[in-house]
């Protein structure tokens, strides 16, 4: 079933790609193939493969229960929040929050998770910024 849904989406996608590629406005071109042919060729192959998957899908053995879906979704929410806060709030607060959450998800008690994340975020900040000289955002909270 998942295979069929996914293959259907791929079929749609390959149609969209052909549609878009045909519509490319190519003002000049020195070689016979141009920018259109390769993507069109690929989407035709993709469409054929997708059709094959629709005709003969594999059985799906992934049947997540509520608990797992909640776990996955909360992981995604934390990652989304981490992405959103990373630059605006800065590395240390964002990593503290995401670190606490993930440490908790993997079985640590809330307080100890927070303590670990605090040590991790502060020590990594100086390690990454000063020793490895990476571009680590300070963030608005700490006056960056």
């Amino acid at each position: 079933m998942y295979d069929r849904i996914f293959a259907g989406a791929l079929l749609l996608l390959s149609g969209l790609i052909v549609w878009t590629a045909v519509g490319f406005d190519v003002p000049f071109q020195y070689e016979p193939l141009g920018p259109k042919a390769f993507p069109i060729l690929l989407s035709v192959l993709l469409a054929l493969a997708a059709l094959w998957l629709i005709i003969r899908p594999s059985e799906n053995d992934w049947l997540p229960d509520r608990k797992i879906l909640v776990k996955l979704l909360s992981g995604l929410v934390v990652m989304g929040a981490y992405a959103a806060l990373f630059e605006t709030a800065g590395f240390i607060p964002a990593t503290f929050l995401a670190g606490t959450a993930f440490s908790y998800f993997f079985g640590e008690k809330p307080l100890r998770a927070a303590a670990y994340a605090l040590v991790l975020s502060v020590s990594s900040y100086f390690l990454l910024k000063d020793v490895l000289q990476l571009n680590v955002p300070v963030g608005a909270l700490l006056g960056g």
């Binding site: 193939l33 997540p64 992405a83 959103a84």
Partner: protein, 505 residues
């Protein structure tokens, strides 16, 4: 003779203090990453690549570090296979079969030491084969025109489709998704913008690192999250036993044969350590017919074979990457992408134009394997202790490093969101049994494939017959056909035997 001169150049690069330090760091991290169940070499290299890039290493140093992680992980994978019965990475699956029973009966130390020596012998043997074959292959490849390159890539994808993953059609879909992702951005031939959805971040293409980290590392975190249950993995004690000289003598031919098998499978595009170790194990078991009832119960031959083979394949898969620009495995696809980020095009000219990279890497692998032997014999207890790091402490570090790495490339939060979206996509692909390595291979090779196809057709003025023109194209076309048909013929031949599904590492 010339080879020795080049090798000397290589050692002068690899022995520079900075590079020597990076070999040590790479091998250490590799052993660690390999031994921890959950993060394999592909994730380790993917997470470290943006960091190495952002820290501004010269290309040869970055490659030395990342390659160290790759072959170091092939050593590390065996530790958790033997002591936990959980393979640390895909290449170490076969090691659990005989390694774990050995440690169960109190011979953990013997199993670890024997597999370390087998790994070392496999790596060193494969390196010698690499030194001999790489210059030859690059001399052959130097005469390749665009048509030959098109065939080489089709051959690579065919090998991948028929040998890796649950179903060929799914591997093909993965490759096509990767190839299509590679077309996003401004077209180098005409300046036309393709499939950018009007998003400026996509104008110069989809960033390779974001795709790799999203597909592998982020989806891995999601998979860990799904699997996680309060785990009470029991580490079998290492014990005092150690490998004896008689053990080594007993497995010498096993190791030699497995090294050659591993190297050859490594060289084949797309097939890496997991397949190499499975084939080596299977063929040793068959060769020992009549005397193989101990296989699976702790036979030292069954332990030595996959370990020699998976290390040999790691070296083998570097050969096509360096000489042809076509990666031999998923992890080397990332190494290839790394080189491209440094504006270095791997291929036959690499050995002439950038000998410091090609030979520096090879020399560093000699040094690295000696380092690894040392880390894995006298210092093994240190890594065993690290096995008990809890995921509650490990996962936050992985998540943090992926975000820091991706952010440090462009300093743009857009990449972080895109990475998470790709992570969801990668996770769903995994759940539907699509391997992810083909996507990366497609992405890395997409631009080169299109460029060569267009070049070939502009030489011929649009006539597709140019693709079958000259002896080399016939050979490559025949090889592709063989790769396409051989597995089904083989299955027909061996009907009744259940084919084992293999995952790309």
């Amino acid at each position: 003779m010339e080879t020795l001169n080049f090798l000397a150049t290589g050692f002068s690069v690899a022995l520079a203090p900075m590079n020597l330090l990076l070999v040590l760091v790479g091998c250490f991290l590799g052993t660690l990453i390999g031994s921890l169940p959950g993060i394999g070499p592909i994730n380790g290299v993917a997470i470290l690549l943006p960091l190495a890039y952002a820290m501004g290493f010269p290309p040869e140093s970055a490659l030395i570090l990342l390659a160290g992680v790759y072959y170091g992980a092939e050593y590390g994978g065996r530790i958790s296979s033997i002591l936990l019965n959980v393979p640390g990475d895909a290449g170490a699956i076969m090691t659990t079969l005989d390694g774990y029973p050995m440690s169960k009966r109190g011979e953990g130390g013997r199993a670890l030491a024997l597999s370390a020596v087998s790994s070392f012998a496999g790596s060193m043997g494969a390196l010698l084969l690499m030194v001999m074959s790489a210059p030859l292959l690059s001399q052959l490849a130097i005469r390749f025109g665009p048509s030959e390159y098109v065939w080489l890539m089709i051959f690579a994808f065919t090998c991948l489709a028929t040998m890796v993953g649950s179903r060929p059609v799914k591997t093909m879909v993965g490759v096509l998704i990767g190839l299509l992702l590679a077309t996003v951005g401004v077209d180098s031939g005409t300046g036309v913008l393709r499939f950018t959805l009007g998003i400026p971040n996509f104008f110069d293409g989809v960033d390779f690192l974001v795709v790799v980290i999203g597909l592998f590392a982020i989806s891995e975190v999601l998979a860990l999250l799904e699997q996680w249950a309060r785990n009470d993995l029991v580490i079998t004690p290492v014990g005092k036993s150690f490998v004896s000289f008689a053990d080594l003598v007993a497995v010498r031919w096993v190791v030699l044969r497995s090294t050659v098998i591993g190297f050859l499978i490594g060289v084949l595009p797309g097939t890496g350590a997991s397949i190499a170790s499975a084939v080596a194990y299977g063929s040793e078991k068959r060769m020992a017919e009549g005397d193989n009832d101990q296989f699976g119960k702790g036979d030292i031959r069954g332990l030595a074979a996959p370990e020699a083979a998976n290390n040999a394949s790691a070296a083998g898969s570097m050969v096509p990457m360096l000489t042809l620009g076509i990666p031999g495995s998923g992890t080397t696809a990332i190494l290839l992408g790394a080189l491209m980020m440094f504006n270095i095009t791997p291929g036959p000219l690499l050995f002439e134009q950038n000998p410091e990279i090609a030979w520096g890497l090879i020399a560093s692998m000699f040094i690295g394997n000696i380092v690894l032997l040392f880390m894995n014999l006298p210092l093994i207890n240190f890594f065993v202790r690290l096995l008990s790091i809890r995921q509650a402490y490990l996962v936050p570090v992985i998540v943090m490093l992926t975000f820091v790495g991706i952010y440090s490339i462009h300093g743009d939060s857009f990449d972080l969101f895109f990475m998470v979206v790709l992570g969801i996509f990668g996770f769903l692909l995994r759940k539907m049994h699509f391997s992810l390595a083909p996507v990366i291979l497609g992405l890395v090779l997409g631009e080169v494939l299109e460029e060569n196809l267009r070049r070939a057709l502009s030489i011929s003025g649009g006539d597709w017959a140019i693709l079958l023109n000259g002896p080399m194209t016939y050979v490559l076309a025949a090889a592709t056909l063989t790769a396409l048909l051989a597995p089904s013929l083989w299955r027909f031949w061996k009907q009744g035997r259940r084919a084992m599904p293999l995952e790309a590492e």
